[in-house]
């Protein structure tokens, strides 16, 4: 018969610090790098460890070599100035007629400095460039204000950025003073106000029961007309600015206009489409599904091409849509369809209990969506949303297909300049353009990670 096992603890076991391989810098080094290389307890394990060592050294070598190569090309061996305005000769080797040593192969930055204004703003007239600077500056300040946690009145600035800023930018960039006559604007505004008044009277019951039920429509119509025509009116004011048509915009300016419009429009549109697709009402659900599947089914190039070339064929004679506007609408609808699916993924991930908890308290559909479901759903899919934004930003280069001059298009036309023809001409300007794209896209990516960390901390999930 075995004695029954018995144990009673009399004093606590000591709380010890962990071994070096667990915590601290040595712990990090061990777990992430050396652990996989130090296992020699069997021939198989030894083989694996040797393979890991070899592979790690190979990777380190390749990484250092490539990074050094890039830095050498871009900085160490590059030519930065062209004091004698030799243009292309400043970047030629001795054999070609210049002054650089044989075998030189690095960036020719004077080429980029010369083409910079063109790459950033296109053929925008010099005298009016200050307007572009002002709108970019206002945009940067507004964006920073809305994005940084600690700024006061973030929401108010956000609303201003979505309403006043596009209007101000449009006037600054195009010059305002559009052809619209103030007379016609005035008449439309009066019509709109009349509709609003009719709506109010119908609401109060003065005009019979049929109009009472329809009073909402009057109000919506009336306000839309008033607001649209107020905008038309403001745009028609003569601010004494030189008019610059959208055909004269180019480079980074176009890229930013198309990308920002697409990004800002795609999120709310995408949310509405996603909610519509998941709706219980078959008509809405089917319409939204058709919309999403159509715009996802055709390439963006096709959309731009059709909008630019085929749309004028379908419009009545004399109605002329601005080329840039056509591209903008195509990009907005296209990216809204993509965003809708990303948001729908997030909505599906929300537990049914959240919907029930909200409904049981008497929240309406829109209150439930706005306060409970969408905040959680959107947080879940921040990686997907930012992914779509970054993809959209880079897809804007496709507008060159329809004759709109974006950053990449400006770069390509710069390469065609024979006065700067050198072997490194193309590489240099593509490096520059690639760098600009990288700054914007990486910036968005970093901000999204900052948002994710902030949100996960507050929910401690």
């Amino acid at each position: 018969m075995t004695k029954p096992h018995k144990f009673i603890r009399t004093e606590d076991a000591p709380l010890l610090p962990p071994p070096a391989t667990e915590a601290g810098i040595t712990g990090w080094l061990w777990q992430n790098i050396f652990a996989s290389m130090a296992d020699f307890h069997s021939p198989m394990a030894a083989l694996r460890s040797l393979f890991m060592i070899f592979f790690t050294l190979l990777l380190v070598y390749v990484f250092v070599d490539q990074t050094y190569g890039l830095l050498d090309f871009a900085i160490f061996s590059a030519v930065f100035t062209d004091p004698e305005t030799l243009k292309r000769e400043a970047c030629w080797t001795v054999a070609q007629g210049g002054s650089l040593p044989e075998g030189w192969h690095a960036a020719c930055w004077p080429f980029v400095w010369a083409k910079q204004k063109f790459a950033l703003f296109g053929p925008y007239p010099e005298e009016s460039l200050w307007r572009v600077y002002v709108s970019l500056f206002l945009g940067a300040i507004g964006l920073a204000w809305v994005l940084l946690e600690r700024m006061p009145y973030r929401k108010h600035v956000g609303v201003l950025m979505l309403t006043a800023y596009p209007l101000i930018t449009f006037i600054l960039l195009t010059g305002g003073n559009s052809d619209t006559s103030f007379g016609s604007v005035g008449i439309w505004i009066i019509t709109g106000l009349a509709l609003i008044s009719i709506g109010r009277m119908a609401q109060a019951g003065h005009l019979g029961s049929l109009l009472n039920d329809l009073s909402g429509i009057f109000g919506v119509l009336g306000w839309s007309i008033v607001i649209l025509n107020a905008i038309r009116g403001i745009v028609a004011i003569d601010f004494n600015l030189q008019p610059v048509g959208t055909g004269d915009w180019g480079g980074l300016l176009i890229t930013l206009v198309v990308a920002v419009t697409g990004i800002v429009a795609s999120l709310p549109l995408g949310i509405v489409l996603a909610l519509g697709r998941r709706s219980n009402m078959p008509v809405i659900s089917i319409l939204c599904t058709i919309f999403i599947e159509f715009w996802r089914g055709v390439p963006l190039i096709t959309v731009l091409f059709m909008a630019s070339v085929m749309l004028p064929l379908f419009l009545p004679a004399g109605v002329n849509f601005d080329n840039l506007l056509r591209a903008l609408i195509g990009v907005m609808l296209f990216s809204a369809a993509y965003m809708a699916e990303v948001v729908r993924g997030g909505l599906q991930a929300i537990d049914k209990g959240q919907y029930e908890g909200a409904q049981a308290m008497g929240l309406s559909y829109w209150q439930m969506m706005r306060l409970i479901i969408l905040p959680q759903a959107l947080t879940h899919v921040i990686p997907g949303i930012v992914n779509t934004f970054i993809g959209l930003f880079k897809d804007t280069t496709l507008v060159s297909i329809v004759g709109i001059f974006d950053l990449l298009g400006a770069g390509q036309s710069a390469i065609a300049d024979a006065a700067w023809s050198t072997p490194v001409q193309a590489i240099t300007i593509y490096l520059y353009i690639g760098g600009i794209f990288f700054i914007f896209c990486f910036g968005m990516s970093r901000y999204s990670i900052y948002m994710e960390n902030k949100l996960s901390k507050s929910r401690s999930h």
Partner: protein
């Protein structure tokens, strides 16, 4: 837990029941596709009454109480809550949901809001209360469920028992006339069940009408005016607790009680 307080509570609870009919379910039937999940349900609940519904899983108990605040739709029969008929009219549904609070098995707290925000959400957005007033009321009820110090934490930082008490406080902040409990302690660790049941008992002692789906028979004995046994979508037996536990008449009730009262 002396029998003194038990009898005292039961006696006091009987005194608070009024003759006002709060809920009336007549010939209610519900189907999920081909499956007849609620059969011929007839039930009347007066103001101040505490009803406990028990039964095997799949018997339709949760479905029954979820029909009361339109989280589920019934296809036949009439349900009236506080005189308001429950049908597809959104206005009626919203009115009913304001007066009926619900506590779920899995708490259903909103993880992206603090405890205080969870509790003030409905009063602010449904009852249109100003924020300061809503926060005062929320703190009162959080004290009532004995966790006022957690007001600024997030649900993920609380234990299960604390979360369920927050869920109870959240429903109470709307000051409902009736509370529905759908297996409130089934998802909790044993050591946390007591704190939630104590909260529910104190609610009952204050006169709150409640319908509770639960397996906690001790709670039923202590607090219920009526215990209802359901099986396969029907109400099998409906009696006062003493009678129900000591003298079950239907075979199925006897079988069920023998299974759950053993352990």
């Amino acid at each position: 837990m002396a029998s003194n307080s038990e009898n005292g509570t039961a006696a006091a609870s009987k005194m608070q029941v009024t003759d006002d009919v709060m809920i009336s379910m007549e010939k209610v039937n519900k189907w999920y596709g081909n499956f007849h999940v609620l059969r011929d349900i007839n039930l009347t609940v007066n103001k101040g009454e505490r009803i406990v519904i028990c039964g095997p899983s799949g018997s339709g108990k949760s479905t029954l109480i979820r029909c009361l605040n339109r989280l589920e739709e019934h296809q036949a029969g009439t349900i009236t809550v506080q005189g308001i008929t429950l049908n597809n009219d959104l206005k009626n549904i919203d009115e009913i949901r304001r007066e009926v609070g619900m506590v779920f098995q899995h708490f259903n707290l909103f993880p992206h809001l603090t405890i205080l925000e969870n509790c003030t959400l409905a009063p602010i957005w449904v009852r249109r209360m100003p924020k300061a007033e809503a926060e005062e009321i929320a703190m009162q009820y959080l004290e009532r469920v004995k966790i006022p110090e957690q007001a600024h934490k997030y649900p993920g930082q609380l234990s299960g028992g604390q979360q369920q008490r927050v869920a109870i406080a959240r429903s109470l902040c709307m000051e409902p006339q009736l509370m529905l409990f759908d297996e409130p302690t089934s998802a909790l660790d044993p050591e946390m069940i007591k704190e939630v049941l104590d909260t529910m008992v104190s609610l009952a002692e204050d006169g709150m009408s409640m319908i509770c789906v639960t397996h906690e028979m001790g709670f039923a004995r202590k607090v219920a005016n009526r215990v209802i046994f359901m099986d396969e979508g029907q109400i099998i037996e409906e009696k006062e607790p003493e009678e129900f536990f000591n003298n079950p008449e239907n075979e199925r009730t006897q079988l069920f009680l023998s299974q759950i009262l053993d352990h």
